[in-house]
């Protein structure tokens, strides 16, 4: 699971031409995430949100700092940690910051993650997190568009359960609708607290 995630991250970083951590003049990193050398455009797609309505990604997130993560609710380790950390940090910001951030979780396991299951799971972390579900082919195409590897079903056990290998990276789209920074597994709450307000300021809605 971790091996797959690491490979996926490496592949993701290569595909997107990652520049590494951007630094200020003093040599301290400006952002704790990996800033892309060439930002990517925000892809256009529509999936189903947990309220059952179509969710037009580009329109609904226009002008917001949007954090996108691909995972699944049966994920035993990385997904809940990422979501828990975001769910712990964002409410601590003043509304002028937190109201301008959207967290979007796209399931890579639509077979098991019904809209109800997805909603209930996300509510463990934050009720404002948006859950999206769609056919796995569409989800994989979206991942490719964001420079991430596709999710793969990894291990099946005797009871029919399985794990899904997926990218462990949170993709940050700044308010100017560009994919600019990647946050791998290991990103800590203090890193989010440091970067998110800065991302809003550095690349405001154009």
């Amino acid at each position: 699971m971790f091996r797959t995630a690491a490979i996926a991250l490496a592949a993701g970083l290569m595909l997107t031409g990652c520049q590494g951590t951007a630094r200020t003049g003093g040599g301290r990193p400006a952002f704790r995430g990996h800033v892309l050398g060439t930002p990517l455009s925000k892809p256009e797609f529509t999936l189903t949100a947990t309220d059952g309505k179509p969710f037009d990604f580009r329109r609904e997130t226009d002008g917001y700092l949007t954090l996108v993560y691909f995972g699944y609710t049966h994920c035993p380790d990385i997904c809940p940690v990422h979501m828990a950390n975001l769910g712990a940090v964002i409410p601590q910001f003043p509304p002028s910051v937190s109201d301008r951030i959207k967290v979007i979780f796209i399931t890579t396991d639509p077979a098991r993650d019904s809209l109800t299951v997805l909603r209930r799971w996300l509510d463990n972390f934050d009720r404002t997190f948006i859950g999206l579900r769609g056919p796995i082919d569409s989800v994989n195409a979206i991942q490719r568009a964001m420079g991430l590897p596709e999710a793969v079903i990894e291990q099946r056990d005797s009871s029919g359960g399985y794990t899904v290998g997926h990218s462990a990276t949170v993709v940050a789209f700044t308010p100017d609708n560009k994919e600019r920074v990647l946050y791998p597994f290991g990103t800590r709450q203090e890193d989010w607290a440091h970067d998110l307000p800065k991302l809003l300021k550095t690349w405001p809605h154009s």
Binding site: D77, V81, A84, N85, A88, G186, R188
Partner: protein
């Protein structure tokens, strides 16, 4: 099933599947075995001064101490503490430092303690540790050092480093209780009021790391922040629980010991006064 020497962070999702740790059994077995051997084979034939045969109470206290040590170092407490919950790691600290060594020291008969510090150097070390300054520095230094993020995050996955830290904690527990219990009169133990003051200092000093844990805005240790979650307990809640466990749990244990010492001192003073009064009335009649 994986058999390990000692427990360490594995990064695997938490499950209630039992995990064996050979090193724990070896350690606990050797401590219990050594005590049994000492009591059965090394007990002197004649007792001098305040020496007396090992009592059932002492055996029970020592056994209880070893049991606490075992519970703290084996699955599930050690497993949860090593890689999942800081609050459980703190509970483990309390068991290793505040509970088990005190019980074990109370469970060791005086003749055995005297035998252990036979020789010039062991006796001098024992005498030095009976004064409060060095134990205060060592115990609280170990506590502060082992709570540094570089230590907590650095040793997580290496079972031998976790073992070394656990042993350091246990030793610091013996150093904590040695002057407080003052078992051997020939080492000039502190008076009861001084012992109470010493324990009181040991309640106040851990407040510093406990406050960092309780009031930290974000998780301090990546080892616990990035660990697979257990029952959806958030990293910050776990950290707050750890701070409260250290402060309240540790405080209650030491306060109970202080209370017991106070009453022992009080009883001693009363007995002395009664003896003085008896002597005065004898002299006037």
């Amino acid at each position: 099933m994986t058999v390990s020497f000692w427990c360490s962070a594995q990064g695997l999702p938490w499950s209630w599947t039992w995990r064996p740790y050979i090193g724990v059994w070896l350690l606990i077995g050797s401590i219990a075995g050594s005590y049994a051997y000492a009591v059965r084979r090394l007990t002197p034939r004649r007792f001098a001064g305040d020496d007396r045969p090992t009592t059932r109470r002492e055996i029970l206290l020592f056994g209880l101490g070893v049991l606490v040590l075992w519970v703290g170092s084996d699955w599930p407490i050690a497993t949860l503490g090593a890689g999942y919950l800081l609050s459980v790691k703190t509970l483990q600290y309390l068991l290793f430092v505040y509970v088990a060594p005190g019980l074990m020291l109370l469970g060791m008969p005086r003749w055995l303690l005297r035998r252990m510090i036979r020789g010039r150097i062991p006796f001098r070390i024992a005498k030095l540790l009976t004064r409060p300054l060095i134990p205060l520095i060592v115990v609280n230094g170990v506590l502060l050092g082992s709570n540094l993020p570089v230590v907590v995050d650095g040793i997580g996955k290496n079972q031998f480093l976790v073992f070394a830290l656990d042993i350091t904690w246990m030793l610091s527990g013996f150093i904590l209780w040695w002057p407080a219990l003052g078992r051997l009169p020939e080492l000039n133990p502190m008076s009861y009021p001084t012992r109470i003051g010493y324990l009181l200092l040991n309640i106040f000093l851990p407040t510093v790391p406990a406050s960092f844990l309780t009031f930290g805005q974000f998780p301090i240790y990546s080892r616990y922040e990035l660990a697979p979650r257990v029952y959806n307990i958030s990293a910050v809640t776990d950290q707050q629980l750890a701070g409260i466990t250290m402060k309240v749990g540790g405080g209650l244990i030491l306060f109970s010991a202080m209370t017991a010492m106070f009453f022992r001192w009080h009883r001693g003073e009363e007995a002395r006064e009664r003896a003085d009064e008896g002597a005065r009335s004898d002299s006037t009649t």
